[in-house]
C-alpha cells in the first residue's frame, strides 16, 4: 500500500511538472508583432518624423497609380482626343458610362471614379494623424512648425484636387482611430476656405529655400495659394465668391511676384523636358518649383513604383516596317491623341514650343526587317536602301493649301513599296523617300492625319518619354513628376490681371513667357530633344544583333519639311503688336471658332490658349476649363468625341461621387443610406 501511495505521489509530481511546462504561464496567449511597427510609433518623435517623410509618397501616388491622372485631367478636354486605344473613352466622351460606377468598358484599364477619391483621402488621413499628434510629441518649436506646415500643405493639396474634381466634399480634419461611417458633405465655400487656411499655415511654416530636392518650401505654398485663390475667384464659384474677389486678386499678384523673383525661367523651353537620366540637369532647373520625386535606385524603381505617364500619350510606331519597340520610343498605350487644336493653337512657324513638345520624327531601328523597305523609287527610278538610323517616320504638320502631298490610296504619288505607309515624301536632304510619312493636309485640301484609319498615327506629346527605364516593357518610369513650374506662375499672375480688367499689364506678363517661347537668334529650329535620348546612357538598353544600340530617337523635328521654308536662324517675335483688340492670328481664329466677343472673354480665351501652348498635357487642362466654365464650349468645338450620342452637359463640370462611398456610409441615425438619400448626396445629374 505504501509503495502504491509513493507511486501515486511520484506520478502526481510528474503530472504537475508537465502541466507547468505546457502553459500555465499567464502570458502564453500574448501576441507580439515582432516584424513590424504599429500605430503607437506615431506617438513618438521618431515616428512623427518618419510620418512627415512618408507624406511625400502621396505626391508620387498621382503619377504612379496608373491612369487616373491622365483620365481625369487630360482626357475630355480640347487638347486631346481618344487615340488608338480607347480605354479612357468614358472620360473623354462623357458618355453614359461616366457615373458613380464606371464599368470595365471598353477595357478594364478604364479609370474608376473612386481612384482619385480614395487616393486623396488616404493622403488626408496621414496628414490628419500627424497634425493631431504633433503638438504633444514634438516639443522643438522649429520642427513642430515645419511638420505642421508639411502636413497642412498635403492636406490642402489633396482637398484642392478633390474639390476641383468632385465639388463640395467631406471635410475630414481629424484622424480616425476606429470605425467611422457617418459623413456629410460640407459646402463648397467651407471646403475652399479650409484649403486656403491650410495653405496659409503651410506658407507660414515652410522654410524659405528648398532644403533637399523634392522637399516643400515657401514658394511652393505661395504658388499653390495663388492657384487656390484664383480658383476661388473663378467662374465656377460665382454663386458665392463675390466678397472675396478683390482681395484675392490683389493677393495673387503679390504671391506670384514673390515666386517669380526666386525662379528664373529656363533659357530654352526644351531644357525643361530634356531628360537625360534620373536627377539629371533638367530636373534641377530653378524653373521647376515642385516635383514628385522618382529615382533610378533599383529598390525604388520597380514595377508599380514608377512614373506611369510615359506610356499614355504615345502613338504607335512598332507596327511600321523597319521599327521595333525600344526604350527610347516607349511603349505606346495611345490613350490621348493630339488633334487639330494641337496644330492650330500654336503659331508653328514662330513659336518653338510646338516643336519642342511633340515628337515629329523617328529613326529606323529594326535591322531584321529594314531590308523589306529597300526598292526602286518609282518617281526617280533610283535604287534606295535603308540602314539603321535613317529617318523612318515623319509627321509633316503643313498648312492648308500645301500642294506637295496626295493621297496614295486615291491614286496619288506612289510610294516606293507596299511596306511604306502614308504619303510619298522624298527627304530633300538624303534624296531617299521617308518610308512612313504622314502629312496634315493633302493637295486637295482634305485632312490626312485625322482620317479614321490613322487613329494610331499622330505626333505624340513627348514631355514624358523616359529612355532610362530598365527594359522595353518596363512601366516604371524614373522621371520626376512636375507639379509646378514658374511659367505657370506667370500665367496665374496674368489671369489675375485679366480678372482685374488690367489687360495691357496681363499681356506684358504673358509676353515674358512668350518671349522665352520664341526661336532665339542663331537657334537651330530643326533641333529636337526629348527624354527618350536618355537611352544613350542607359546600361540596360538592349543592343541589336550587330551590337548597336536599338534607338529610334531622333534629334531632329520636321520644322522645315512641314513649313517648306528656307533654313534660317534669325530670331522670331511673337510678343510685339498684341493688344486686347488685336490678338495674334492663331488666337483670333480660335476666338472666331468659339464665337466669343467682348474684351474679357477674348482675353480669357487668349490666356487659356497660352496655357495650352505652355503647359500642353501637363495635367492642368481639365481643371482649368472646368473652373472657368469653358469646358463645354471648348470640348464640343475641338473634341468630337464629346459631341456623341450623350453629349457633354452642364453636370460634367463635376465628377460623380463614387458608389463605393455612397454604399459604405451611414446617415445620422446610424443606418445605411436609402436610395433617395444617396441620390441627394450625389452630384446633380448623376
Amino acid at each position: 500500500m505504501n509503495k502504491f501511495k509513493i507511486n501515486i505521489l511520484v506520478l502526481w509530481a510528474i503530472i504537475l511538472l508537465v502541466s507547468g511546462i505546457s502553459s500555465c504561464k499567464k502570458d502564453f496567449l500574448d501576441e507580439e508583432l515582432k516584424t513590424q511597427r504599429n500605430t503607437d510609433y506615431f506617438k513618438t518623435p521618431e515616428g512623427i518624423s518618419d510620418l512627415a517623410d512618408a507624406l511625400y509618397n502621396h505626391y508620387r501616388a498621382f503619377f504612379m497609380n496608373r491612369e487616373q491622372a491622365v483620365a481625369t485631367n487630360a482626357c475630355g478636354t480640347d487638347e486631346f482626343i481618344v487615340g488608338g486605344d480607347q480605354a479612357q473613352q468614358t472620360w473623354n466622351d462623357y458618355n453614359s458610362n461616366l457615373g458613380s460606377i464606371v464599368p470595365n468598358v471598353p477595357t478594364a484599364n478604364v479609370t474608376k471614379t473612386y481612384e482619385i477619391w480614395d487616393m486623396m483621402y488616404k493622403a488626408i488621413s496621414d496628414a490628419n494623424v500627424l497634425l493631431a499628434n504633433v503638438d504633444e510629441v514634438i516639443t522643438d518649436a522649429g520642427k513642430n512648425k515645419l511638420f505642421k506646415a508639411e502636413a497642412s500643405f498635403l492636406r490642402a493639396f489633396s482637398y484642392f484636387r478633390l474639390v476641383q474634381q468632385y465639388g463640395p466634399v467631406v471635410l475630414k480634419l481629424e484622424p480616425s482611430t476606429g470605425v467611422e461611417r457617418y459623413f456629410i458633405r460640407a459646402t463648397k465655400e467651407e471646403c475652399v476656405n479650409q484649403i486656403i487656411a491650410d495653405l496659409r499655415t503651410a506658407y507660414a511654416g515652410l522654410p524659405d529655400v528648398e532644403e533637399s530636392e523634392g522637399k516643400l518650401y515657401k514658394d511652393v505654398a505661395a504658388h499653390f495659394l495663388a492657384k487656390a485663390l484664383l480658383y476661388r475667384c473663378s467662374e465656377i464659384n460665382d454663386d458665392w465668391n463675390a466678397s472675396y474677389k478683390t482681395t484675392d486678386l490683389a493677393e495673387i499678384i503679390t504671391l506670384t511676384n514673390e515666386v517669380i523673383a526666386h525662379h528664373p525661367l529656363a533659357t530654352d523651353f526644351s531644357d525643361i523636358f530634356a531628360y537625360t537620366g534620373s536627377d539629371g540637369p533638367n530636373e534641377m532647373l530653378p524653373e521647376v518649383i515642385f516635383a514628385a520625386q522618382f529615382s533610378s535606385t533599383t529598390t525604388i524603381a520597380d514595377v508599380g513604383n514608377g512614373n506611369y505617364l510615359h506610356l499614355l500619350f504615345l502613338s504607335v510606331y512598332q507596327t511600321l516596317t523597319g521599327f521595333v519597340r525600344d526604350i527610347a520610343g516607349g511603349r505606346e498605350y495611345q490613350r490621348c491623341r493630339t488633334n487639330d487644336y494641337t496644330f492650330d493653337v500654336f503659331d508653328i512657324e514662330n513659336d518653338s514650343r510646338f516643336w519642342k513638345s511633340f515628337k515629329t520624327k523617328a529613326n529606323l531601328n529594326n535591322i531584321s526587317n529594314l531590308a523589306q523597305l529597300n526598292g526602286t523609287d518609282p518617281n526617280t527610278s533610283v535604287e534606295v536602301t535603308y540602314a539603321q538610323g535613317d529617318l523612318g517616320l515623319i509627321y509633316i504638320i503643313n498648312k492648308e493649301g500645301d500642294t506637295r502631298f496626295s493621297n496614295p490610296a486615291a491614286g496619288g504619288t506612289p510610294l516606293v513599296k507596299s511596306t511604306h505607309s502614308g504619303v510619298y515624301f522624298n527627304n530633300p536632304v538624303t534624296g531617299k523617300p521617308t518610308p512612313h510619312s504622314y502629312a496634315r493636309y493633302l493637295a486637295d485640301g482634305s485632312g490626312y492625319l485625322r482620317l479614321p484609319g490613322n487613329v494610331s498615327r499622330y505626333p505624340a506629346l513627348s514631355k514624358y518619354l523616359d529612355g532610362s527605364r530598365t527594359a522595353v516593357a518596363a512601366t516604371a518610369g524614373r522621371r520626376d513628376g512636375i507639379y509646378a513650374r514658374v511659367a505657370e506662375t506667370y500665367l496665374i499672375k496674368a489671369e489675375a490681371l485679366i480678372r482685374q480688367n488690367n489687360y495691357t499689364e496681363a499681356i506684358s506678363v504673358m509676353n515674358i513667357v512668350r518671349e522665352r517661347a520664341q526661336f532665339r537668334d542663331g537657334e537651330d529650329r530643326a533641333a529636337y530633344r526629348d527624354g527618350g535620348a536618355a537611352v544613350l546612357t542607359n546600361s540596360n538598353a538592349p543592343l541589336n544583333a550587330n551590337g548597336v544600340l536599338i534607338n529610334s530617337n531622333s534629334n531632329a523635328n520636321s520644322y522645315y519639311e512641314s513649313l517648306d521654308i528656307p533654313v534660317t536662324t534669325a530670331a522670331t517675335d511673337i510678343t510685339t503688336g498684341i493688344t486686347p483688340a488685336s490678338l495674334p492670328a492663331v488666337d483670333e481664329a480660335i476666338i472666331t471658332k468659339l464665337g466669343l466677343s467682348g474684351d474679357y472673354d477674348r482675353m480669357m480665351c487668349f490666356l487659356l490658349n497660352e496655357r495650352s501652348r505652355e503647359l500642353y498635357g501637363e495635367l492642368f487642362r481639365w481643371e482649368d476649363l472646368a473652373r472657368t466654365k469653358t469646358l463645354l464650349s471648348r470640348a464640343l468645338t475641338f473634341n468630337e468625341g464629346t459631341a456623341g450620342a450623350n453629349a457633354i452637359r452642364e453636370k460634367h463640370y463635376l465628377r460623380p461621387l463614387p458608389q463605393t462611398f455612397l454604399d459604405a456610409i451611414y446617415n445620422a441615425e446610424g443606418r445605411a443610406l436609402t436610395a433617395d438619400e444617396k441620390a441627394a448626396m450625389q452630384n446633380p445629374g448623376y
Binding site: 502541466s19 501576441e31 513590424q36 510620418l51 507624406l55 509618397n57 480616425s176 476606429g178
Partner: protein, 589 residues
C-alpha cells in the same frame, strides 16, 4: 513537343508484431511519379513507425513517428518574366502556329514565332527553366497513460510537428521567359514547427445500472513559422542555380525578405458521460478556449454542449419486434468556436515606404488600409441536432435521419469601410447567420449470396443557409454583397435566364455566340474512370504461403464519349486530356 508518356511507381512494405508487453508497427513507402509534361517529376519517401510499451499493467508508453520527404520538380517557372508568358508549357505550345518557324536562318531561337507578341517559343524550355520544391515533414506523437486507482487514469499526449519546405526556381538566360536576357533565380525556405501538449484525467465507473465517465483535459498548442527568401538575376553558370547568391553584386539582387509568425491556443475541457442500463445516455461537456490572435480581453470564451440519447430497441416494448435491430433517438446541442483571423490583425501594423529625394533615399511610415479592431473575439456556432439511427432486417438495411439547425453569431468578416476615414477595411465580429437542414443516409444490402453481393449506399441532404442580421440589425450591407435573408456567398449580378438547350431557337443563338468564339454545344458525355480488379482465390494462395493477393487495372480520364468539340476536355475546360493507366498488385503476408 512538350509532353511525354509518364510512368508512376508506388511501392510500400509494412510489418507489425508484438509481445505481451510490446506492440510495434513499421512501414516504408516510395512513390515516383513522372509528369506528362517534360521536366516534371515527383518523388516521395514515407516512413511510419509506432511502438507501444506496456511494462506493467498500470502504465503504458507509446511513441510514433510519421515522416515523409517529398521532392517535386515543377518543370518550369515563369517567375521574373513578362505577364504575357502563359502559365504552362502545354497551353503555350498549343498557341504556336503550325506554319511558323522556330529558328531563324542562323539557327538562333526566335522568341516569338510568327512575330506575334503573345506566342512564345517553348522548344526545350524545360531544359532552361526549373522549379524544384522539397518538403520534409515529421510528425511524432508520444503518450503516457497511467492507471492511478480504480477507474482513474491519467494520460499525457505530446505531439510535435516539424515541416521544412524549400522552393527554388531558376530560369537560364536561354529561357524564353527571360526573353534571352539575363538569367534569374530565387530560393525560399520555410520552417514550421508546432507542438500540442494534452493532459487528460479519466474516471470511469459502474454503480449498478449506472455507468459514469468523466474526462478532464488541459491542452496547449503553439505554432511557429519562419521563412526567408532571396532572388536575383545575372547568375553566371547554369549549374549554380540558386546555390551561389554570394557571387552576385547587390545590384543584381532583386528582392529579399524574411518573416516570422507565431500563434498559440490554450484550452480546458470537462466532460461527463452517463448512461443508465445502456438504454438512456447523457453527455455534458464544457470547454474554455483561448486564442492568441484575438484582441486582449476577448481571447477566452466558453463553449458548452450536451446530448441525450434513448436506445428504443432496448426497451421492453420493442424486444419482440424482430425485424428491428436498432432504433436510437438522439438530441443534442453544442457550441463551437472559430478564431480564424489573420495573425496580428489586432496590432495596428503600419507600412514602411521608401522614397527618393533627389539622389538620396529616405524611409518613412504610413498607415495601412485596415484599421485594427480591439474588440475582436470568438465567432460562435451553436447547433441543435435531432436524429434517429435505425437498422432493420438483421442489419440488411441501416441508416440515419438527422435534422439540424445551427446559428452562428459574431461572425468574423472583413467589412468594407468608406475611404474617407482613411481606412478601407477592418475585421469585425458582426452579424448572425443560420443554417438548417436534414440529412438522410441509408445503407442497404440488396443481395447477399455466397459469391456475389450488391450493396447500395445512398445519401440525401437538404440545406439552407441565410444571413440573419448584420452590423446594424436587419439591414443589408450592399458594399460587401451581404443581404439579409440570403446566403453569404450570394451572387449579386444579372439574373441568368437559363442554360442552352438543344432547340432550334437556342441553336440559332448559339451560332451567333459561337461565331464570336464561344464553345457552346448541347450536352457532352465524358468517361471519367474505368476500373477492373481481381482477387486471387485463397486456395491458390495457400500453396505459395501468401495471405492475400489482388491485381487491378484502371483507366482515368479516358476521354469524351460523345462531343461536338473533339479537342477539348469539357469537364476541366483544358485543351488536353491527362489520360492515365494504372496497374497494381496488393500482397499480404
Amino acid at each position: 513537343m512538350v509532353t511525354q508518356p509518364a510512368y508512376t511507381q508506388d511501392h510500400s512494405i509494412s510489418a507489425s508484431g508484438g509481445t505481451r508487453t510490446m506492440k510495434a508497427y513499421g512501414s516504408i513507402g516510395y512513390l515516383d511519379n513522372q509528369g506528362t509534361t517534360k521536366g516534371q517529376e515527383y518523388q516521395r519517401y514515407t516512413l511510419r513507425t509506432n511502438v507501444e510499451l506496456n511494462p506493467k499493467n498500470w502504465i503504458t508508453f507509446g511513441a510514433g513517428v510519421n515522416g515523409s520527404w517529398q521532392y517535386q520538380d515543377y518543370g518550369q517557372s515563369q517567375a521574373g518574366g513578362s505577364t504575357n508568358v502563359t502559365a504552362d508549357l502545354i497551353a503555350a505550345a498549343a498557341r504556336i502556329e503550325p506554319y511558323s518557324l522556330p529558328y531563324d536562318a542562323e539557327g538562333n531561337l526566335i522568341v516569338h514565332p510568327g512575330g506575334k507578341a503573345r506566342v512564345w517559343n517553348v522548344i526545350d524550355e524545360w531544359k532552361y527553366s526549373t522549379n524544384q520544391r522539397e518538403t520534409l515533414r515529421l510528425l511524432a506523437s508520444l503518450f503516457t497513460e497511467v492507471k492511478l486507482f480504480k477507474g482513474l487514469r491519467y494520460r499525457m499526449n505530446f505531439g510535435p510537428d516539424f515541416r521544412y519546405y524549400r522552393n527554388g526556381y531558376y530560369n537560364d538566360a536561354k529561357s524564353i521567359v527571360r526573353e534571352l536576357s539575363a538569367s534569374n533565380a530565387s530560393i525560399s525556405n520555410t520552417k514550421d514547427f508546432s507542438y500540442t501538449i494534452d493532459n487528460l484525467l479519466y474516471y470511469d465507473n459502474k454503480f449498478g445500472a449506472h455507468t459514469v465517465g468523466v474526462t478532464l483535459l488541459q491542452t496547449a498548442s503553439k505554432w511557429t513559422s519562419e521563412s526567408s527568401s532571396i532572388s536575383g538575376q545575372g547568375i553566371e553558370m547554369p549549374s549554380q542555380m540558386w546555390y551561389a547568391f554570394g557571387t552576385l553584386t547587390s545590384a543584381q539582387l532583386t528582392s529579399w525578405s524574411s518573416g516570422l509568425t507565431e500563434r498559440q491556443l490554450e484550452s480546458y475541457m470537462a466532460r461527463v458521460n452517463y448512461n443508465y442500463n445502456s438504454k438512456y445516455l447523457l453527455t455534458l461537456s464544457g470547454r474554455w478556449d483561448g486564442a492568441s490572435q484575438l484582441a486582449a480581453g476577448n481571447k477566452w470564451a466558453f463553449f458548452p454542449s450536451a446530448a441525450i440519447a434513448w436506445r428504443l430497441d432496448q426497451e421492453s416494448f420493442l424486444t419482440n419486434v424482430t425485424w428491428l435491430d436498432q432504433l436510437k433517438l438522439r438530441l443534442g446541442f453544442g457550441t463551437v468556436g472559430n478564431a480564424a483571423v489573420g495573425l496580428y490583425s489586432t496590432k495596428g501594423a503600419i507600412n514602411m515606404v521608401t522614397l527618393p529625394f533627389g539622389t538620396s533615399t529616405v524611409t518613412g511610415y504610413t498607415l495601412t488600409n485596415a484599421v485594427a479592431n480591439q474588440e475582436l473575439g470568438w465567432e460562435k456556432t451553436t447547433q441543435f441536432n435531432l436524429a434517429v439511427d435505425f437498422a432493420f432486417l438483421r442489419g440488411r438495411v441501416n441508416g440515419t435521419i438527422e435534422a439540424y439547425r445551427s446559428s452562428t453569431t459574431d461572425l468574423l468578416l472583413t467589412v468594407a469601410l468608406p475611404s474617407v476615414s482613411g481606412f478601407t477595411s477592418t475585421i469585425a465580429n458582426i452579424g448572425e447567420t443560420s443554417n438548417r437542414g436534414i440529412d438522410l443516409t441509408i445503407n442497404a444490402t440488396l443481395l447477399a449470396m455466397s459469391d456475389f453481393s450488391w450493396n447500395i449506399n445512398a445519401t440525401a441532404a437538404w440545406q439552407r443557409d441565410q444571413i440573419e442580421s448584420l452590423m446594424n440589425g436587419k439591414e443589408d450591407m450592399v458594399a460587401n454583397n451581404w443581404f439579409i435573408g440570403e446566403s453569404i456567398g450570394i451572387i449579386y449580378n444579372y439574373e441568368k435566364i437559363g442554360i442552352w438547350q438543344d432547340t432550334p431557337q437556342d441553336q440559332e443563338q448559339m451560332a451567333l455566340f459561337n461565331a464570336n468564339g464561344s464553345q457552346f454545344a448541347p450536352g457532352k458525355i465524358k468517361i471519367r474512370n474505368i476500373s477492373l480488379g481481381y482477387q486471387v482465390p485463397a486456395k491458390l494462395l495457400d500453396r505459395i504461403k501468401i495471405n492475400s493477393l489482388k491485381v487491378y487495372a484502371q483507366v482515368q480520364n479516358a476521354g469524351m464519349l460523345w462531343s461536338q468539340i473533339k479537342f477539348r476536355d469539357a469537364e476541366y475546360g483544358t485543351l488536353y486530356y491527362n489520360r492515365g493507366y494504372v496497374f497494381g498488385i496488393n500482397v499480404g503476408f
